[in-house]
Amino acid sequence: MKKIIVIILLGTLGFYTAHTFFDIGFGFPHFEHGIKDVYLQKTVSDLKVSNTVTSIVVNFRGFDTLGEVTVLFLAVTALGGILYKRRHEVGERSVLFSASSIVTSGSKLLFPAIILLGVYVFIHGHLSPGGGFQGGTIIATGFLLMLLTYENYSVNHTVLSLVESLAGIAFAGIGLLGFMHGGTFLQNFIEPGVLNNLFSGGVIPIIYIMVGFKVGAELTGVIYTVLHEKG
């Protein structure tokens, strides 16, 4: 009985998936008139975003970005789950080799500048090259510098997972708010504003700031977990 129900459910799912894919019509003429022209024109006229890459990644293909963020989250969770038991205490053989005083004071000086650069990159994601992923990785390299230099430098795992989860929830929540205002998931429901302003592009900067927080927290967690693994 159970098997029959499973087969029926799978058959229904397969039928509707196949139906959707046949409806797209790959290879028919509507794919030959380049969609790139529509994107380029809509980016400037409708969304008021200067960086076309950002407008495609966050707005036109926003659902794919949500999937990417989910993949990263799952990878980090799996890594933490595998290595959690084998971690040793903070300060015990956590650095590759002990750092000299030049390195310690230099990295103390560089750390705020790296964090500032990362924050700049993801706040200005819709105006200049870069965005959430790039800014997040730059922030993670800043924490990497501190973790490599100071033996007893530690990051709070509770805060990291809290930031990560809240940013992910905010991303999905903004997507759901689109249902209430426009009609589709991740609809751009805020007024776009003026081209080249900091506050422009509707929800695009908000989503990219969330992605930046999420990626930064996740990659910092990865580095911390791997660095404190018992060899």
Binding site: N51, V53, T54, L96, V121, P129, G130, G131, F133, Q134, T137, I138, A140, T141, L144, L148, L219, V222, I223, V226, L227, E229, G231
Partner: protein, 94 residues
């Protein structure tokens, strides 16, 4: 013209670094060569007018991946045939 020369030099360098990374038996040097590949690749991305990809490549390829590989080498073996050598030594003793 100078653009073409610069791109040619970078392409030759990237191929050289890749061959070095494959041929090198010391895994630490091979990882550093992989980092150099990422660095040159990010310059090439920038020259091909893809600054977004260049930023990603610079942050992930040069810094994060290299460091994670180095930590892995610290926790495992440094030379490619260290395990083989040990096995051969054991069989020779027997």
């Amino acid at each position: 013209m100078i653009y073409f020369i610069l791109i040619s030099v970078l392409v030759v360098l990237i191929i050289g670094a890749a061959v070095y990374a494959i041929r090198q038996k010391d895994l630490l040097y091979a990882v550093i060569a992989t980092g150099i590949i990422s660095l040159i690749l990010s310059i090439l991305f920038y020259m091909l007018q893809a600054p977004d990809v260049a930023l990603t490549e610079a942050a992930i390829g040069v810094a994060l991946t290299t460091i994670i590989f180095i930590i892995t080498i610290r926790n495992t073996v440094r030379f490619e045939d260290e395990r083989d050598k040990k096995d051969k030594f054991k069989s020779a003793v027997k």
